[in-house]
């Protein structure tokens, strides 16, 4: 490798950076919380398209001046004349509520209204979906831990899982800071991030293990440096091609996929960083050497 970078020199700086990012994220998650969408909070979402482009957000809000709806949130969504309306009430209690509401909006806005999307989720279902989402992410982390534990030694397993938790917490933390909506597709994105970050970590770990067996005299941080450098071009190229695809979805894939692709972009960047600066330092910390591998093989 010509472009040899001394990664381990920055390990301690990076660790402080990661730790503070995780702490800030946890604080935000704890105090500000996540902006849950209809899927997890319950309520109703309407996506409408209005032919008359002069209609403004306040006109729509005025047409929704119905006390029983509770907190109503209206925002522009994509093109001009497209709006997203959200409120807490759902169709659970009153079966005719959505058709009444549709009539009310159509009547009060002097233009043709096209109801493009209607989603309503009751409180019981939404809390179940949230529980399912958390279980799925926890299970994915557990399964990864198990896989790495079988394939490598426990120090590697720990390093990988610390990196994964780091990725998930910071991704969600950024969603909390930016008040981006968290819905079912974000859970899918987080799970994919877990898979991707793991993928990246495994590639480096494979190389570290190989080099540990190759060079018996070198220190752990020298080995990780060599390994990260050797796999660096692969790490960059794969991240780049994945990001190319993701940015293509983010920019061209329409409004519905925006949040999903944004979470994935964050995850790929954080996941790539964490493989080098979170997972590998853990091996350093435990002073993993050739002996560690050989000893474990004897067991």
């Amino acid at each position: 490798m010509n472009n040899k970078i001394n990664f381990s020199k920055f390990f301690s700086v990076a660790n402080i950076f990661s730790l503070s990012a995780v702490i800030i994220s946890i604080l935000f998650l704890f105090f500000k919380g996540l902006n849950y969408g209809v899927d997890f909070k319950g309520g109703t979402l309407l996506e409408i398209r209005i032919d008359n482009k002069n209609i403004q957000i306040q006109d729509i809000r005025a047409s929704l001046n119905i006390p029983e709806l509770g907190d109503v949130n209206v925002k522009q969504f994509g093109e001009e004349g497209d709006f997203l309306i959200k409120f807490e009430k759902n169709a659970n209690e009153n079966k005719k509520f959505i058709s009444d509401l549709k009539n009310s909006i159509s009547k009060k806005i002097s233009s043709a209204v096209n109801f493009r999307r209607v989603e309503t989720v009751g409180p019981k279902v939404s809390s179940e979906l949230l529980k399912q989402g958390i279980t799925a992410i926890a299970l994915a982390l557990g399964a990864m831990l198990f896989y790495i534990w079988i394939r490598f030694e426990w120090q590697f397993s720990l390093g990988a899982i610390v990196a994964l938790i780091h990725d998930v917490i910071i991704t969600l933390g950024i969603f909390s800071i930016l008040s981006f909506e968290v819905n079912l597709s974000i859970v899918a994105a987080v799970l994919t991030i877990v898979g991707y970050s793991m993928n990246d970590t495994v590639v480096i770990f494979d190389r570290i293990r190989e080099n540990l067996l190759k060079y018996s005299k070198l220190k752990t941080n020298e080995i990780t440096d060599i390994s990260v450098n050797e796999t660096l071009s692969r790490t960059i190229i794969t991240s780049l091609t994945t990001l190319l695809a993701l940015f293509s979805i983010f920019i061209l894939g329409g409004e519905i996929l925006k949040g999903f692709s944004f979470a994935m972009i964050l995850g790929v960047i954080i996941g790539t960083y964490s493989s080098i600066y979170v997972a590998s330092p853990v091996l350093n910390y435990f002073k993993v050497t050739q002996k560690t591998l050989l000893k474990d093989d004897d067991l």
Partner: protein, 515 residues
Amino acid sequence: MLSFTKIKVLSIYLILILTIFFASLNFKNNNLIDKKINLGLDLQGGSYILLEIDTKPLVNQKLQTKVIPIKKLLNKNEIDFKDFIISPDNISLIIDEKEQNKFKNLFFKKQENKVNNFISEYNKFELDLEFSQNKVLIQFSNFGLISLNNTALKQSIEIIRRRIDDVGTKEPTILQRGDKRILVELPGIDNPERIKELLGKTAQLTFRLVSKDDGFGVEKLILSENNEELTVSKRVVISGDNLVDAQPQFDNQSNQPLVRFTLDRLGAQKFGRVTTENVGRRLAIVLDNSVISAPNIREPIIGGTGTISGGFSFQESTDLALLLRSGALPAPINIVEERTVGPDLGKDSIDAGVFSLIIGFILVIIFMFIKYKIFGLVSNISLIANLFMMVGILTILEATLTLPGIAGIILTVGMAVDSNVLIYERIKEELKTEKSIIHAFDTGYNKAKITVIDANVTTLIAAAILFIFGSGPVKGFAVTLGIGIITTLFSAYFIARHLTSVIVLNDKEGKYFKL
């Protein structure tokens, strides 16, 4: 790693051609093999409705039917009781402690038990007894509740299916979800309000006499036409169960829409008798606790057919006839989740999804070609093959493609090159120390193998968990992601490797191997 036997090469390309053939089925109509990728509701438009049955009223209703048999049992066996109270989910009464054992034995008798059914399926009784001093509490046992719930759910699914079939939507899906829920998927429906209204109605129809005096066994109900309060007897003359048919019609004279119904033999007999005995009185037609109409009985109705008029619009009479034909739901049903996507949003989503797929694909292809030249071309060919294979396998499985599913395909395109990148980077390293080009490629492929498999298994785990836990569109993402991993491994390790071997083995002067 670079040597391929002829049979191996043949089977690799045979598999490729086969999947390309299946992928092509999506673009033309083929009568021989009718396989296509299904579009999810978010892409073709339609409604997803999750219903939940509420068994509480049913429990109460069933307990009510136990009242008379229990009292009969007590009286027949001369067991004294007092303070007989019916609550929503239990019955309580006072029995002297000395007689409680006798009651218990009768209550849990396995043969000819008219009070407490023995559910042989679970080997348990339907009802349970609880004693506290002289108080006796009768309530449903856990198994009784389960059995009640299951029967109600099965019936509800059947009735919902009849109602939806009657409306005539194309390819509806009606499935049980868990032990209290029913999932209804209606492709192509952009305004599900009418169907929702039809699904939500219990449609419990009863014919009952209007009573002159207030007293025991009557209740006050509202006549929906003019809000008149009527005193209606609780005794049911005939119910919806006695109906064999109901059709919307127009009245000959007034031209008003009405519903003509036909009764079964038993119902016709009873209806004839009651109308004969009660000429001049009013008969209330009650649907779900509100009176639709209460006409005077002008003459006995013996033919077993009659009409219901109630100032309906034609749509209302059509819907009422439909509800009566399909029968009453055993328990009320609530909508707990609904997602409807209009057809134009679905089309927009397909357009945006496919467009971003094409752009993402082109960007990756250009990048790989610039980076790896001829081997980038190999990787690109295997990427195109990968895409065709994904579509082909989705077609063979007749999987459902959703918008997140398209995102999964795009993501696979981005991540698929990883395997080739891993291999090529490895080969590059080998070339530094290895003099023989062929040997360098061989060890490169060999050493990268473990890493490639490790890396893909982790993503496969994530996809599997998503598939198990995800619902609807998210499941579609898991499917494409999972299939993508398998096709990626195939295209990297068979197609790309074979093409690479052809180049390397023919390139004696080493013109191309510069990576």
